[in-house]
Amino acid sequence: MKIEVLGSGCSKCKLLAERTEEAAKGLGLAFTLVKVTEYPDIVVRGVMTTPGLVVDGILKCQGHVPTVKAIQDFLR
């Protein structure tokens, strides 16, 4: 499973990356987590507000940091 966290590196983006990692580990998934920090790479995914969460190429959420439990629902 490929998980991407979109964001230029603000505190919310870091928090999302941490929670996503926790969520994925909690589910025992095999995953790679990539932080996408360059603006063109973020914009090209249609995202307008960071942080964004993309799982296997599908945009799951943007603009806020969901709880670990909510992230696990995205990953299932």
């Binding site: 603006y39 307008m48 507000t49 945009l59 959420c61 709880t67």
Partner: protein, 357 residues
Amino acid sequence: MTLESNGCACSTPTPAPGPGFWKSGGWLLAALPAWVALYLGLKPLADWLAFRVLGLQPGSRLGEAVAFFAYDGPKVLLLLGFVVLGVSFVQTFISPERTRDLLAKRTGAWGNLLAALLGIATPFCSCSAVPLFIGFVRVGVPLGATFSFLVSAPMVNEVALFLLLSLFGWRIALIYTATGVAVAFLSGWIIGRLRMEGHLEPWVMDIPFEASVATGGPSGLPARLAVSVEGVRDIVGKVWIYILLGIAVGAFLHGYVPAEFMVRFMGRSAWWSVPLAVLIGVPLYANAAGIIPIVQVLLAKGAALGTTLAFMMAVTGLSLPESVILRKVMRPSLLAVFLGVVAAGIVLVGYLFNLLM
């Protein structure tokens, strides 16, 4: 890049009301009386701490400064926490995507006005300025309206509004909001009339872009409350130190500096004070919550209202870090026009109020 097409991609399944609901909502309800009691008891508590526990003299400089700090610090933090909770909750219903769609293809001055007004309520974080800017421009929001939004969003936000309201009363809150919206409206309108679309960095228009659907916020009461609590933790966690520092400076000035001190520098008669306040304010960056305690001090020490408003707008609306970020999407010419027009608008507001008040 595929996007989930069926509406709200971000929604979490709504859990059935049960113990989980009370876990997320119930404790907030229980915390409310404690909050009110603490807020009402702050003044006597602060006096007791300063004059009984620390044994300082009432009326002495140090005593008054400590009492001021012990009262004002917790008061502003309590207010801020309460306001941010409410606002974050309301904002789970508003998304930048929806604002964008409302503004798309809306040309003319109405578009600018609507953008400036929507900027007040739409959640905005300056770290999202670049993707937001591109998202707006690429779905057909006119450049001028995009700028109106970009000026208004950080400058006139709900947190600033409520803090001004609770600390200075409705008159100053209203004046700040109305003039902030006016500056955002006018500067966006002027930039639109200058037709500077060609002064964007080329990649802004060239990059393949597919507008994402409005993912919105979380859905369901527990999830919305969780996000709101998160907002309080995020914002209060970020600004509390600046607020306390600002109030500490304020407390010091409160006890030690005569009330007329600022008249010479920021009073009405010092004509140069408005442009100077803007010049000092532009490179500085603080969000509205951080700057308000300083504003409180300036006003209390005899600074003119217009000069103080101009300073606050310059600090919140324009900043060096944001300019560096925006440079990625606009050429220096457009960036310079943007900074110049907004700064000029702020100076104008400053003079206007010094003249009227």
